[in-house]
């Protein structure tokens, strides 16, 4: 039973990663493509870590895998946000909405005059 659970978890991890890469290939926009990093960065290492804990128990490598999972999840959120902000700044000089741009904004996000 444990072996089956480990195999299913490993298969799920690989399947999530492969589907995410295929989804990334299908997208045309870099902002859309960035969304597809989330699944392999969060779900796949989690599945692999659970499989490692099931196989090896409370060993040092299991905890290293757990730390790696936390690093990947944290890294993905920060780096994706930083990259999206950088892309936006490279396009419009500023990451805030420009006048006339139709985006859902908060009252604190006042449109910024774009430099000509």
């Amino acid at each position: 039973m444990k072996v089956i659970a480990i195999d299913v978890l490993i298969a799920a991890a690989v399947l999530v990663a492969l589907l995410s890469v295929l989804g990334m290939l299908r997208m045309r926009d870099p902002y859309q493509r960035m969304h597809y990093i989330s699944a392999p960065a969060a779900l796949s290492p989690l599945f692999i870590t659970i499989a490692i804990f099931l196989q090896d128990g409370l060993k040092p490598e299991s905890f290293k895998a757990l730390v790696t999972t936390f690093v990947l999840i944290g890294m993905n959120t920060v780096v994706t946000h930083a990259a999206a902000r950088a892309f936006r700044m490279a396009e419009t000089e500023h990451w805030r909405p420009v006048p006339g741009e139709e985006v859902p904004i908060r009252s604190s996000d006042e449109p910024v005059e774009q430099k000509s």
């Binding site: 990947l72 920060v78 950088a86 490279a90």
Partner: protein, 84 residues
Amino acid sequence: MNAWNLAADVLIFSLVPLTWIASTGEVRHRIVAFYMGGVIITLLLMLLTMAFHRMPMMDLALSLALMSFGGGIVFAHFLARHLK
């Protein structure tokens, strides 16, 4: 061949399209593919560690995850400042 090895063998093929995206086209697409490549290679190192029963190799996966974080932030900073 155990399940870990098989999974690593299958997953390594996902690097082919990522390499293609990361080496062609516009710079923003390349960077996104580079980020994804870092995640996939980290997963591969985790799988290969278990496949070959070389437990200290888990440090490599952890190191790569940490280095990808630093590299990603530096790339994002560089892109925002110098590639307008």
